[in-house]
């Protein structure tokens, strides 16, 4: 286990280098010029040229990439082409907002999703079919539409909560629910599948046969064995939650990393794009490392491996 985790740690810089290289390649290979986006298509050639030099986008590809890697090593992420603010500083400002949003969404989605999944696995068949469609609708509805409809019903019609903006508890409820809808649905579906598998294991029969109460069997034997794969899937699905965060933050005007990334991409603000991509990747890799650590805690069999 220790050597495995060590390997995973050593892989992190490799993945980061791979991601930065891919994004750099993408930016370089596809047409489009940030300096033109900055000064407009009709600017004088000399102006464009000086801006290109200032931004450093006139240098050869490899030189730009190595220069960027060097910058990262120093913990610097460059400056935004537009605001000239340090990307690292901006990220530090915005990251807590995104983390708060993600944490609230998961605090909603995980308990609801897991209990619903267990209910689907244990409950009556007719219920199961109905809930199957409901949870599938949860993963099929577009996040941005769910957000807009919630905004319409709860903020505009009922006037219960503010429609958008960054702030305290009242502001976070709607975006968190929006982000939690697809998450709880997919967690419920995975939980159901895994729980049905566990229910068929011989040890479940043994537990019942030796006279344990049904509730006790569900909470100790079933829940424990179900949670491990479910946690893995939550970790692996993290990328899709990031997708959802980009859209949710854009709709609700939530000043987080997702919206920052979106704006950076639209304005071709490459340092911002690279910075947010790096943070997103780090978060993904980190979450999955934590998931692996959880394994060791939850499942004694893993420690031996």
């Amino acid at each position: 286990m220790k050597t495995y985790l060590l390997k995973r740690f050593l892989l992190v810089p490799v993945v980061l280098a791979g991601i930065t290289f891919l994004v750099f390649l993408l930016i370089w290979a596809l047409p489009g010029d940030p300096s033109l986006a900055l000064v407009g298509e009709r600017a004088k050639a000399a102006t464009v040229e000086s801006i290109r030099r200032e931004l450093g986008v006139d240098r050869p590809f490899l030189e730009q990439y190595l220069g960027y890697l060097k910058l990262i090593m120093h913990g610097n992420l460059g400056r935004s082409f537009y605001t000239n603010r340090s990307v690292a500083d901006d990220l530090i400002d915005k990251l807590p907002h995104t983390l708060a949003l993600a944490a609230s969404a998961m605090a909603l989605a995980v308990p609801v999703g897991v209990s619903l999944g267990l209910f689907m696995a244990l409950g009556k068949r007719r219920f199961e079919r109905f809930l199957n469609v409901i949870t599938m609708a949860g993963v099929s509805l577009p996040v941005f539409w769910v957000g807009l409809i919630l905004m319409l019903l709860i903020s505009v019609k009922a006037r219960l909560l503010p429609p958008s903006g960054t702030g305290g508890f009242r502001y976070i409820i709607l975006p968190a629910i929006t982000l939690a809808v697809p998450a709880f649905a997919s967690i419920a579906r995975v939980t159901k599948t895994v729980a049905m598998d566990v229910l068929n294991q011989p040890f479940m029969l043994t537990a019942r046969a030796k006279g344990l109460r049904r509730l006790r069997v569900v909470f100790t034997h079933l829940l424990k064995n179900t949670l491990i794969p479910v946690v893995t899937v939550i970790g692996l699905d993290f990328g899709s939650y990031l997708n959802g965060a980009v859209l949710t933050e854009t709709i609700f005007g939530w000043d987080g990393v997702g919206r920052f990334a979106m704006e950076g991409i639209i304005k071709r603000d490459y340092p911002v794009v690279m910075g947010t991509v790096l943070v997103g990747t780090l978060a993904f890799v980190g979450i999955n490392l934590i998931v692996d650590l959880c394994y060791a805690v939850m499942d004694p069999r893993v420690k031996k491996g």
Binding site: I19, L26, G32, P142, V143, W145, S240, I265
Partner: protein, 262 residues
């Protein structure tokens, strides 16, 4: 469930293909005398801020969406299948490299990647197709590879090799057809996701450009009218939901019937 999904899909496809002439309005004709009318027998889905019939636009927008789903599925299938076959069959360093790329892409918010690609290209059907297709193949390739690794050790392949079949023949005559069911089921489960990705890109204004509607762009452009004309947002969103839902149900139904991944 599968039957319900097929019926819904059939209705959607029928409506989308035959719809615009039936609904009786031109989806792009502006009628300033009929701005933001709420749903009525004349305009079942209401009209938008330029007096265009929302039902006609919704039906027309579905064409683009379904076209993109088809195209993206094609791209995904070809790339995913090729990478999976090659990676699984030949193994070694190539396998390591290809699966490394797959791992990196899997750990990446694909929407951001698709947004990036569609921004750097002139927006339109092609950019959306490339954006969605170029990130969609990853999961499929991983799955096909897993199949191939098992299949290439099968006795059937061993027998073919003993009879002197060439590598290419083994790959395409023996292994490809057997990995096909898994690939097709996985693909059908991905189609719902393609609809959502296309909708998200269009919503952000990066898809097919106005005045031609798609479900996503209709919602994106109607966002500001959500208080005065909520039907402009509601109906296209419901269509996205129904289409994605029926594709997802179809995929799951196929999976359960063919008893795959079990």
């Amino acid at each position: 469930m599968t039957r319900a999904a097929v019926i819904i899909l059939f209705v959607i496809i029928l409506g989308v293909v035959a719809g615009p002439p039936i609904s009786g309005y031109n989806p792009v004709r502006i009628d300033l005398d009929a701005i933001k009318l709420s749903p009525s027998p004349e305009h079942p889905f209401g009209t938008d801020n330029k007096g265009r019939d929302v039902l006609s636009r919704t039906l027309y927008g579905g064409r683009v969406t379904l076209l993109i789903v088809l195209g993206a599925s094609g791209i995904t299938f070809v790339i995913g299948m090729l990478v999976g076959l090659v990676s699984g069959y030949f193994g070694g360093k190539l396998d390591l490299l290809l699966m490394g790329i797959v791992d990196i892409l899997l750990s990446f918010p694909t929407l951001l990647l698709a947004i990036g690609i569609s921004i750097l290209m002139p927006p339109g059907i092609l950019s959306v197709l490339i954006a969605i297709g170029s990130v969609g193949w990853v999961g499929l390739a991983r799955l096909v590879r897993g199949q191939v690794v098992v299949l290439k050790e099968s006795q059937q392949v061993e027998a073919a090799r003993a009879l002197g079949a060439s590598e290419l023949r083994i790959l395409f005559v023996y292994i490809f057809p057997q990995s096909l069911p898994v690939a097709l089921v996985a693909l059908s489960m991905k189609m719902g996701g393609f609809i959502l990705s296309e909708a998200a890109l269009s919503f952000l204004g990066l898809g097919v450009q106005p005045p031609w509607p798609t479900w996503g762009s209709m919602i994106g452009q109607s966002r500001i009218f959500i208080t005065s004309a909520p039907w402009m947002v509601t109906f296209p969103g419901l269509m996205i939901g129904f289409a994605a839902l029926s594709f997802n149900m179809l995929g799951e139904g196929l999976r359960d019937r063919l008893n795959i991944f079990r």
